[in-house]
């Protein structure tokens, strides 16, 4: 009985920790398929978390907070897009700076609003929606189908984005921009516009992921609370081979890796908790090392376009 409870708690934590990764990684999948790598994802997540927290606080509604978080994440991605796509600056350094800026600006805004020491915010949280029938399945039901609505957004976006990417002409144009921008351009695709929209969409989902952290996860905001999830999400995209379905699976796998600590604690293993904190990053590295040889990135990923000499 105790073991069953621990497993349910483990599964529940896996989904809870996997959902923000999945949201951010799905967005980044679309961005990268268009030929743009946005390392500034972390900046969008933290902006989404603060935007979501402030929005929920101002309106008293967690749902509005999620929307405002998405807008904040999109705004950060807009800065990235203006420089890296509009001006053609180096995507990797621009993204790194955008992450740094996101962490700095959110820290400054948070301290300006709540004081240098910071107060423990108590935010309205997202209600769980229980799916009829499905949530009654033993063991799996409540971890998978008695969750905040952002979880169902992930379940829905996986197939939708897959269809959109591989079965519609818009999806084809997006992939063309990422594989062969010159040819896409010759075929009439407006490459820069496609890439900008893809980057903004990635920022939107990363912002929602951040808002989920603040409003479904913890019910509070803390500086640097994104804790590198943006970078793990980018690794998740690689592990999911730029395919929306696999990306969701990979994200849940990392949610499970992060949730391992609850399971092992429940079984009374005494391992220093810092090792658990490091575990997701180590596992990501190991997975990249074992996996990447078989993955192929979009051919024009991270290359500025049009090429200027």
């Amino acid at each position: 009985m105790f073991e069953a409870l621990a497993w349910v708690a483990f599964l529940e934590a896996s989904v809870r920790l996997g959902v923000p990764l999945a949201l951010a990684a799905l967005g980044e999948t679309i961005t990268e398929r268009s030929g743009v790598i946005n390392i500034g994802l972390e900046g969008s997540i933290i902006a989404g978390a603060l935007g979501g927290a402030l929005g929920a606080l101002a309106t008293g509604s967690a749902g509005t907070g999620i929307l405002l978080g998405g807008v904040a994440g999109m705004a950060v991605a807009g800065v990235f897009a203006a420089l890296a796509i509009g001006l053609g600056t180096d995507q990797i350094i621009t993204g790194t700076a955008v992450t740094l800026g996101g962490l700095g600006v959110t820290g400054a805004v948070y301290q300006a609003r709540f004081g240098v020491t910071g107060t423990a915010l108590s935010l309205p949280t997202l209600d769980r929606w229980s799916v009829p029938v499905l949530s009654d399945i033993p063991m799996l039901g409540s971890p998978l189908f008695d969750q905040p609505p952002t979880t169902y957004l992930v379940y829905a976006l996986g197939p939708i984005l897959w269809y959109w990417l591989f079965r519609t002409s818009w999806g084809l144009e997006l992939r063309a921009a990422g594989e062969a921008p010159d040819a896409a351009r010759a075929a009439g695709v407006r490459v820069l516009k496609v890439r900008a929209v893809a980057a903004l969409f990635g920022g939107l989902l990363a912002g929602v992921a951040g808002a989920h952290l603040a409003l479904a996860h913890t019910g509070t905001f803390a500086e640097n609370m994104s804790a590198g999830r943006g970078f793990i999400a980018i690794a998740v995209v690689v592990l999911g081979r730029w395919h929306p379905g696999w990306v969701v699976v990979a994200a849940m796998f990392f949610g499970a890796a992060s949730a391992l600590q609850f399971l092992l604690q429940a079984f009374g293993l005494d391992v220093p908790y810092q090792l658990f904190l490091a575990l997701p990053y180590v596992l990501t590295l190991a997975a990249l090392a074992g996996w990447v040889g078989r993955a192929t990135a979009p051919a024009a990923l991270a290359l500025p376009w049009p090429r200027r000499r």
Partner: protein
């Protein structure tokens, strides 16, 4: 117009600083602060007295110069080492460990052993992403960032576990003995020998890149792997690997110098993100080692002034992180805008006529080897 092109990095750097200052002042006004009071507190905190300059600004500049050199060297070879932060922590852990346990060494050998251990640890930390890049084809950007998080948690584990102080109260190590400490450079200040070391390394690295055969190989590989291989008969993989490790060693040294010159012990949060600030330091310097000396000192002053700004104008010190990001973005944006302005619009011939490589070398539109991936 060779002279104008040569001056481009200076124009870009100056323009970036002006732009950043304007945006900072604007941000301060929007945040409800008094920009004049805040900025004058910042300047006073950094340059206001002999003590402020020697003991705060220059002391803060040392790890920034060393990690800035690490980033500049790596970027020159086209190695995207975003992992200076983790390599610094690895160096700090190793340095403290040797300083505390190698007391059987003769006194004169302890400090070199501490610094040597930090060099080695930094290089070892860089070895993992370097091997993953060269042997497995995994791009270094994400792997170096992930290694940063591992190192930070490792340091946190060390100061609560194996290396915790003998009293066992706080998450920190014991202080290393006097023999493991860097000597002071100026009496009555906190300026330590690490600054001299950093200056010498800047000059040395500059000379290395400019005049040595190996330095040429580094620049050639950074320019274009294919051209370096075909025209220069340079074995680019060796150059990339060696540069990656050297970059890690420099960042590790920053950690060793910090624990033997300033803190004498290891703490959690030893670094306030120096390894990331280093990217701004290196880019603003146009990846030039002598420039790193100047820009590292500039960011040291900024961090020194940030503390004063928080104390006397109530502006949170975290603003400086946003400013650093602004500097990077301004350099990138202005550099790109400058290039565009130099090329007449709509002229395909002119596009080809201009060689690459003025300003901070951030444009990687050049050829990359097959299978090379940044992600």
């Amino acid at each position: 117009m060779p002279d104008r092109r040569r001056l481009a990095p200076l124009y870009v750097a100056a323009g970036a600083l002006v732009l950043t200052a304007v945006l900072l002042a604007l941000g301060l006004v929007l945040g409800g602060y008094d920009p004049h009071a805040a900025l004058s507190a910042l300047v006073r905190g950094a340059f206001g007295s002999r003590d402020a300059f020697l003991s705060v600004t220059l002391v803060r500049a040392v790890p920034l110069i060393l990690t800035g050199l690490a980033v500049a060297l790596a970027f020159r070879a086209g190695v995207w080492n975003i992992g200076a932060e983790g390599q610094l922590y690895a160096g700090a852990i190793a340095g403290v460990w040797v300083g505390l346990t190698a007391s059987w060494l003769p006194a004169w050998a302890l400090l070199p052993a501490v610094l040597g251990a930090s060099l080695l640890a930094g290089a070892t930390w860089a070895l993992v992403p370097a091997m993953m890049k060269l042997k497995l084809g995994v791009g270094e950007v994400i792997t170096t960032i992930l290694m940063n998080f591992v190192a930070i948690h490792a340091a946190s584990f060390m100061v609560r576990g194996p290396l915790q102080e003998s009293r066992g109260v706080f998450p920190q190590t014991d202080a290393v003995g006097p023999a493991a400490r860097l000597p002071l450079l100026v009496d009555g200040s906190r300026l330590h020998g690490g600054f001299l070391l950093a200056v010498l390394l800047c000059l040395g690295l500059w000379a290395f890149l400019r005049w040595s055969r190996a330095g040429f190989a580094v620049r050639a590989v950074g320019g274009s792997v294919e051209v370096a291989e075909v025209a220069g008969r340079i074995r680019s993989r060796k150059v990339v690997g060696a540069t990656f490790l050297a970059s890690g060693a420099l960042a590790g040294l920053a950690g060793g110098v910090e624990v033997s010159g300033v803190t004498f012990a290891l703490y959690e949060n030893l670094s306030p993100g120096w390894g990331y600030t280093a990217i701004a330091v290196a880019l603003l310097a146009g990846l030039n080692p002598i420039g790193v000396l100047v820009t590292g000192t500039f960011f040291g002053a900024l961090q020194a002034g940030a503390g004063a700004m928080q104390r006397s104008a109530g502006v949170p010190a975290v603003w400086v992180v946003a400013v650093e990001a602004l500097v990077i973005l301004a350099v990138l944006g202005l550099d790109q805008a400058w290039r565009r302005a130099m090329v007449p619009r709509g002229s395909a011939v002119a596009h080809r006529a201009l060689p690459e490589g003025s300003g901070p070398k951030t444009d990687r539109s050049g050829e990359r080897g097959p299978g090379d991936s940044d992600v």
